[in-house]
């Protein structure tokens, strides 16, 4: 698209140097520069965005030998069970559903800002505030720490936390992949210290069905034990 401009043989009146005469043909580079600008912008933008973002989850190692004795014991008061069942629905209940105790109430929620997040922030108030303030201080420049120290301090805060909930995430057969990603994301947003993805129990599936049908379970249901 380069254009060749032929110069006037006489040149312009005012020009004293008349350099143009030495170069009879001149290429107008403007379109080329325009195109290059465009290409550079294109490459700059695409290279920056092409990288995929990942969310890292680490699952506990599968140990065939693990039995009742070695399974970690967690306190029932701090346990928060989150049940996922597709349709963007999320259910939660506190504690544990056992035959000898009163049935915990299953509450329906969703992934909106006022849904599960509000409840998680409420439960994890102390740790969230602590981490938020620490991060805020760093952004404002009040404390200067390298990245690794910063991450380790947050890790230590999470490790030391004794107040926040221990979240057990359970998904049933209707759950979508995005539900799991969303809930793990909520854990990251709310700075939940301990959470795990575990298998859903039969009672819990029945609890969801109960809430869906409008008749929440009040007593522990009788379960037919599947024979192995």
């Amino acid at each position: 698209m380069a254009q060749i401009q032929t110069q006037d043989p006489g040149g312009k009146k005012g020009s004293k140097k008349r350099r143009a005469k030495k170069h009879p043909a001149e290429i107008d580079m403007t379109p080329m520069v325009d195109l290059m600008c465009l290409l550079i912008t294109f490459f700059m933008l695409t290279t920056a965005f092409a990288k995929a973002k990942v969310m890292v989850i680490t699952m506990p190692e599968k140990d065939q030998k693990q039995d009742e004795k070695t399974a970690p014991k967690i306190s029932a008061e701090r346990t928060l069970n989150i049940l996922l069942s597709g349709n963007d629905e999320v259910y939660y209940y506190n504690g544990q559903a056992t035959p000898d105790k009163q049935m915990p109430q299953l509450i329906k929620s969703d992934f909106s800002k006022d849904g599960i997040r509000k409840m998680l922030l409420d439960r994890n108030r102390e740790l969230f505030t602590k981490i938020y303030e620490y991060r805020d201080k760093r952004i404002k420049g009040e404390i200067i720490v390298p990245d690794t120290t910063f991450e380790n301090t947050i890790k230590q805060m999470k490790f030391d936390d004794k107040q926040g909930p221990i979240v057990l995430i359970k998904a049933d057969t209707a759950a979508r992949y995005k539900d799991i990603v969303n809930i793990i994301d909520e854990m990251a947003i709310c700075n939940i210290a301990s959470y795990a993805i575990v298998d859903i129990g039969q009672v819990e599936s029945m609890m969801i069905q109960g809430v869906r049908a409008g008749t929440p379970l009040t007593t522990y249901p009788k379960i037919q034990v599947r024979e192995k």
Binding site: V33, M36, I40, V54, V56, L84
Partner: protein, 213 residues
């Protein structure tokens, strides 16, 4: 004294240095740009706030689409002379008693994600164009009767023990399918998963904490 007349001439800017610089930048970006490799299926990944980037090398990616079809990709590692893909295919061919020509091994090493039973892989490697290749992408079998995906994972782990695992699942994929694959990976001693997500900014401040009851 006669007044000095300023020359009536449109100013000319010498653009040569600018063009030089632009050319340099352009060449730099063209060479460094890593294009998104062609993917076997359209996958709409879910959103998350994570800012962590996927590793460039030593990555095996498992794609799970809406219908639970599974596609697989593994890279050649940082050094292209290692030819991990070729070695993995050799092991697979040995396991399933198939034969590929040297050219096919070589070509497979340069291709990207795929998803079909091993018997159709030959056709996929030799396909003329990407349309033909897409038709063959029907998903890798991963049920208990014919667990080819398991072997792909196993041999990828053997050939390149440093490979990390990334899972790119469709937002609407059934979790049970994903779980099955995660279990399979855990059987192969992979306990760390990189779930590929689309970044979405979501700010939460102290004001979002509901007042204490």
């Amino acid at each position: 004294m006669p007044k000095i007349k300023p020359p009536v001439k449109t100013p000319r800017i010498d653009m040569t240095p600018m063009v030089d610089l632009f050319s340099l930048l352009l060449i730099f970006f063209v060479l460094t740009a890593s294009f998104r490799p062609t993917e076997a299926a359209m996958i709409d990944s879910p959103n998350s706030v994570s800012e962590k980037q996927a590793p460039d090398f030593n990555l095996m990616t498992i794609f799970i689409d809406k219908e639970g079809k599974v596609f697989f990709n593994v890279d050649n590692g940082q050094d292209s002379t290692t030819k991990f893909r070729e070695q993995i295919l050799r092991k697979m061919a040995e396991r399933y008693e198939m034969t590929f020509t040297e050219d096919e091994y070589d070509l497979f090493g340069r291709l990207s994600s795929f998803g079909m039973p091993l018997k159709d892989l030959k056709g996929w490697i030799n396909a003329e164009n990407s349309e033909e290749r897409d038709k063959l992408n029907v998903g890798i079998p991963y049920d208990s009767t014919d667990n080819q995906l398991g072997y792909w994972i196993l041999y990828s782990r053997i050939v390149n023990p440093r490979a990390e695992v990334a899972i790119k699942g469709d937002a609407d994929a059934n979790y049970m399918d994903v779980k099955k694959i995660m279990d399979m990976l855990q059987d192969n001693k992979v306990n760390k998963f990189n779930l590929i997500t689309t970044q979405q900014v979501d700010e939460v401040t102290l004001d979002d904490i509901p007042p204490e009851k």
